[in-house]
């Protein structure tokens, strides 16, 4: 049985168009709606109250007001799926926040040990972002160097191009869905960048191997065959990677869900871009080399004649 051969390279313009459209929608959303930043970026407090049956959001708001929380009226109070209340206020003083929380707990007689309070001072978000951007820059440089040494610079450049493509897509999706961006999101995003290269490396490995004695077909044809050769690997590694992350997305608590969402979007985009962007752009670029130009003339004509 021969495996089906899919003409990935021939559909490259489709890939570029799809990516372009998704990125364009994302960019429009980023510029018009922007991103929703978590309290980590603005300063404020998140409290979780494990409520007793009968406690309502309004009880909590009134109690917060009694406890002297300045913006209790405007605080957002969400009910989580396990019946707890998630309260966000702009209170940035951890001592006051902790006191307010204690006051509400005793006021409404809630079980005390089931509570979390997180207070973030203003400026923390900027520190986290700066550190994350530094980490991103360093990891891109390190990846460029590593792939250039182990493979070649054209591969490293296209791999990083695919990576930037994934970043834009994840950011666009966050903006479109109005998901909250937290420091955890940024961590997940940075990691996924490395992880999304996994598939790219698998394909590049095969292209490099096949390009060693390239005489009987054009570079583009060989690259297409390489993708087909590793196609099942690509599908299966993608599946086994995303299954655990999807479980986390469906079953994990709030923090884990935040991670899992960024990971899921990044993984899908990463798997797609390794073929749709990294490999196609790389093959296009390689084919401009004189050596491969000759092969292209020779074999693309022949296929044209044959068909």
């Amino acid at each position: 049985m021969r495996r089906p051969t899919i003409d990935f390279m021939g559909r490259r313009n489709w890939f570029f168009a799809v990516s372009g459209i998704i990125i364009a929608i994302g960019l429009v959303s980023l510029f018009t709606r922007g991103l929703v930043f978590g309290i980590e970026f603005q300063g404020g407090t998140v409290m979780t109250f494990e409520a007793q049956s009968g406690t309502t959001a309004e009880d909590i708001r009134v109690s917060l007001q009694k406890a002297g929380v300045a913006d209790a009226r405007n605080a957002t109070i969400q009910t989580t799926q396990d019946g707890a209340f998630l309260v966000r206020t702009s209170e940035a003083d951890p001592t006051k926040a902790a006191e307010a929380f204690r006051a509400v707990v005793s006021d409404l007689k809630l079980p005390e040990q089931d509570v979390t309070v997180t207070t973030i001072g203003p400026g923390w978000g900027r520190s986290v972002t700066n550190a994350a951007l530094l980490a991103l820059a360093v990891s891109i440089i390190a990846i460029l160097i590593y792939i250039s040494l182990r493979f070649e610079y054209k591969m490293s450049a296209t791999a990083v191009l695919a990576l930037l493509h994934d970043t834009l897509i994840v950011l666009g999706v966050y903006s479109l869905f109005g998901r909250e961006v937290t420091p955890n999101t940024m961590a997940a995003l940075l990691t996924i960048l490395g992880y999304s290269l996994y598939d790219t490396i698998v394909v590049f490995h095969r292209i490099r191997e096949n390009s060693r004695n390239l005489q009987k077909q054009s570079f583009m044809q060989m690259a297409n065959e390489s993708i087909n050769q590793v196609f099942m690997r690509w599908i299966n590694t993608g599946l086994t990677s995303i299954i655990p992350v999807l479980c986390l997305l469906l079953l994990g608590g709030q923090t884990l869900k935040d991670f899992a969402f960024a990971l899921t979007v990044g993984m899908l985009s990463g798997a797609y871009s390794s073929v749709g962007i990294a490999s196609t752009v790389y093959a296009l670029w390689k084919e401009r080399e004189p050596k491969f130009q000759a092969l292209k003339k020779k074999f693309e004509k022949e296929t044209a004649k044959a068909s």
Binding site: T118, W124, I143, M186, A187, A188, Y198
Partner: protein, 435 residues
């Protein structure tokens, strides 16, 4: 080493590693340190700002860290810790504490170091190191010299007893006050207090008028170092503001842990089912590989926990779950490459040898690229994401270990002994078979 010996050595090594891992991590709940977001407590990230125009130097930060460690220990919380984060932040973790307000007050204050005559302290307690005297047990006027008068302090050796001692240098104002006091109070006791906690009680042996003082006694080197650090840096050289304060109740943290582990286990189960359905016999092999992978990872994590270098946080759990997929990927690369080489007409034996070699080459490159970005995250990022990056790096190392020592070896052994007899069990037809 001939191939047979190599296979035996590889298998024995991996089995030994797994056995050691089990010994290290069992039982899980006591052997793996849980992070604060899981076991509950207060976690504060303090960001330093320079006071006045004194720049924020590396030295100032490490002094601040030393002082905070001292204060955290003074709170009497077990397993409390202070860690540097980035260039200007400190992560303080106080497990089990529920009242963050009090802890914050004790941590963030600039600290008051007082030298007080023993007789002016109104307390019935026996004043030794670590005793906290109640506020108001001595008044400001009875303070002989204050921390601000200390110019420098260091560890030295008492030339008479050859024991470690602490040397102390006062500034001009301090030296004159200290000279007047010591001249008038020879044989009396001076108590050094940091925020009302006794650091040392010393007897005045002779008048000291040049400001250069030596405190000797039955110090160990460690104790002398601690006292010198306290004297040197009694007052915080920087201003600390809490950037992030997290109070986690123990029940909620435990609940998150259970959810995370459940998600991880279900994910692992689904991956295992998929592997069996698609790769048949090799699927079973991948179960063993995954089992060994999880064992090794828990083993390393338990080892680092024991060394105090690891705590499992919620982001860490996300890292654990993510690496399950990574571990399966390595197996997939090996099985696919082997099947491909068989399809190309190679014998099982040759296909196994060259296939596993190529596949591991790919795995190493793909894993290392992920490793590089996790490393950058671990080194440069701040906040809870460090736990995520560390877990991911450990996962990659364990994954490669299992792929190279175990999965590769077993595929080679199977190709020699089992696959030729029953290729269909592995999704292969006989001869030039295909999947």
């Amino acid at each position: 080493m001939d191939p047979k010996t190599r296979n035996v050595v590889a298998l024995v090594t991996i089995i030994a590693l797994v056995a050691v891992s089990w010994w290290l991590f069992w039982p899980l709940d006591t052997k793996i340190t849980q992070g604060l977001d899981i076991k509950g407590g207060v976690q504060v990230i303090l960001t330093a700002k320079p006071i006045g125009n004194i720049p924020l130097t590396e030295d100032a930060m490490s002094r601040t860290e030393a002082i905070l460690t001292e204060r955290v220990n003074g709170l009497g919380v077990s397993e409390a810790s202070v860690q540097r984060q980035g260039s200007d932040s400190l992560l303080v973790q106080l497990p089990g504490i529920k009242n963050s307000a009090e802890a914050l007050k004790a941590l963030g204050s600039t600290g008051r170091l007082d030298f007080v005559d023993l007789r002016s302290i109104d307390t019935s307690e026996n004043l030794t190191y670590g005793v906290k005297v109640p506020a108001g047990s001595y008044d400001a006027s009875s303070v002989v010299v204050a921390g601000s008068n200390v110019k420098s302090a260091g560890v030295t050796v008492d030339t008479q007893t050859n024991q470690p001692a602490v040397s102390l240098e006062f500034d001009k104002a301090g030296a004159s006050k200290w000279g007047a006091y010591t001249t008038a109070n020879v044989r009396q006791y001076i108590v050094i207090l940091l925020d009302n906690v006794v650091q040392s009680v010393a007897q005045i042996r002779e008048p000291i008028t040049d400001g250069s003082t030596q405190i000797s006694g039955s110090f160990t080197a460690e104790e002398a170092k601690r006292l010198a650090a306290v004297l040197q840096a009694g007052a915080l050289p920087v201003e600390l503001t809490p950037s992030s304060t997290q109070i986690v109740g123990p029940t909620l943290g435990g609940e998150s842990l259970r959810q995370g582990l459940l998600a991880g286990l279900i994910g692992l189960g689904l991956v295992a089912l998929f592997m069996l359905a698609y790769y048949r016999g090799f699927g079973i092999l991948s179960w063993l590989s995954l089992g060994m992978y999880v064992s090794l990872l828990f083993g390393v994590v338990a080892l680092l926990s024991r060394l105090g270098a690891y705590a499992l946080t919620l982001p860490g759990i996300a890292g654990l779950v993510l690496t399950v997929g990574l571990a399966a990927d390595s197996s997939i690369l090996i099985f696919e490459r082997f099947k491909e080489e068989v399809r190309m007409g190679k014998t099982y034996r040759t296909a196994a040898k060259s296939g596993t070699r190529h596949a591991i080459g790919t795995s190493v490159d793909a894993d290392l690229v992920t490793f590089v970005s996790a490393l950058a995250l671990f080194v440069f990022a701040i906040g809870p994401v460090k736990g995520f990056a560390l877990t991911l790096m450990l996962g990659i190392v364990c994954d490669l270990t299992v792929a190279i020592l175990f999965t590769r070896t077993v595929v080679v052994l199977l190709a020699e002994n089992v696959i030729p007899k029953a290729p269909q069990l592995f999704g292969l037809k006989g001869g030039d078979g295909d999947a």
